[in-house]
Chain length 296, copies 2
């Protein structure tokens, strides 16, 4: 194993605009800020350089996608190399003619793309019309062997699936990043907002607990309306880092642009897994029916 | 489907003594109390009629086990029939000569044992020497078709495994009961007690969220010392019921004997699953490696 015993991760939480170029500049500003604070592995939010276009179904938005590698990953590769950091870059991937994914690339300290992950679980809810845009991922679950050890990644809706976290942890991830774009329907926020947010945070803390890994969730902030008449989505921020016992180490606000940093400590993972050795007792002889849609 | 749209569950939280007979009387007292409060499906704590004997390894404790059916389930069958309720009865099962399980029986309103569940995930930690006593379950995951619809059951250490909850939910459970015996090592409580309890509650709430089911966890209370020199275990109580969104509907104290009741509402499950349709988007084509011990 080639592992740093400790390293620092950075999470960038910010708001987006229609201007792709200024969104990229903002991302770079926050990456530099996180690196100054000591972060070696920095994660951007889901679809990091555009508004959350999935609020409606419109074929023109496919123009926002680009290839990996492509102009955007090239720029961030230069930055990673300059700052000697790892960057998790979630973006709208154009894979081929008319074939698109919600993906991320992980760039190492040499500026090389180690590999990509393509979102496996695709939602489709009012104002989250992702099944229109994103072909389900076909690369399975991923860990990336960085200079700081193996990091895992999943994307947003994946966060509701214990299977995704388990499969990523089984590959040896010390931390699972969840770049995310989730928020409230403004008309629901008063009645359901608190419960929705708490469900979201609870299930991600549970992935940390079940697997004895760190979890880092990176969300955007701000109200995004596609047109003046729409209610829009109020992205709820609250990027956070959970330790392997489910303890929240660092947590952002609901509405401010912020950088979070937190330490990943492999000794802590070892300690938690020794004390609560859940991996030891898994009944892998009995899980076959997880491969069923429903067991009726 | 033969389902009551709504029914009330009861959870009995109490302390145990060395006197098996008085423990049974106490259980009956709390069952009657829960039934008076309107509960139709009532769950006792893990190993409901004895001290938590697994604090040490001693072959004499195998004498505490009995067959299912046996004298204890016979008595509780009479009670179930009299009160027209379903009872979840977790007890130490003697299956055959020298072969024991940590099991539960579910008794219906006619006083019949519908079926049994045998704990699948067996812990082994200081003062929780369960691998010495309990053969791992070989019946897989279970739902019980009661007069109030399908209820699922798991036992204690199972609660740390998202797989167990998923497999039980896939069988159509509206509620998953977790009879439990968990507590603090008194010498650890000050430093780690809060985080341990919160991990325990968080992961069970997450099973409710991931699966859109109710979760009812039933723990014991009290300090149990096997001998005056041992630190013992301070069972942390806090039996609770989570709704399908992870909202806590009802929660007991850390140290008092109590009965909790809560309503199971199938319309609420339907509503939550429509709004957050996690079942719809499971990537069952991609979960094969969950059957591996580790994916290295």
């Amino acid at each position: 194993m080639n592992l740093a015993k400790k390293f620092t991760i950075g999470l960038t939480q910010y708001s987006l605009s229609e201007d792709i170029e200024s969104n990229l500049k903002k991302a770079i500003f926050f990456i530099e800020n996180a690196a100054e604070k000591g972060a070696s592995v920095i994660c951007l939010p889901e679809l990091f350089n555009s508004l959350y276009f999935c609020q409606s179904e419109n074929i023109e938005y496919f123009d926002l996608a680009e290839t990996i590698p492509g102009p955007t990953t090239n720029k961030l590769s230069e930055l990673a190399k300059k700052l000697k950091i790892v960057i998790v870059v979630p973006l709208f991937e154009k894979r081929n003619l008319g074939l698109y994914h919600n993906s991320l690339a992980v760039i190492n300290t040499k500026g090389e793309i180690i590999d990509i992950y393509r979102k496996m679980h695709i939602p489709d809810d009012p104002a989250y019309y992702e099944k229109f845009y994103f072909t389900p991922g076909d690369l399975g679950y991923k860990v990336f062997d960085t200079e700081f050890g193996k990091i895992g990644t999943l994307i947003c809706w994946d966060q509701w699936y214990p299977e995704g976290a388990r499969l990523t942890a089984l590959k040896g991830a010390s931390v699972i990043f969840y770049p995310t774009a989730i928020g409230w329907h403004p008309y629901e926020k008063q009645e359901h907002g608190k419960a929705q947010f708490e469900s979201w945070q609870t299930i991600q803390r549970s992935h940390a607990i079940a697997n004895g890994v760190y979890v880092a969730s990176v969300n955007r902030v701000g109200l995004e309306k596609q047109n003046p008449d729409s209610a829009g989505i109020e992205f709820w921020g609250k990027s956070f880092v959970s330790d392997p016992q489910g303890i929240i180490l660092s947590e952002a606000s609901h509405d401010k642009e912020e950088v979070l940093v937190a330490e990943i400590n492999l000794d802590r993972i070892e300690y938690i897994r020794r004390n609560w050795p859940f991996m030891r007792d898994r009944r892998i002889d009995s899980y076959q029916n997880i491969l069923k849609r429903f067991d009726d």
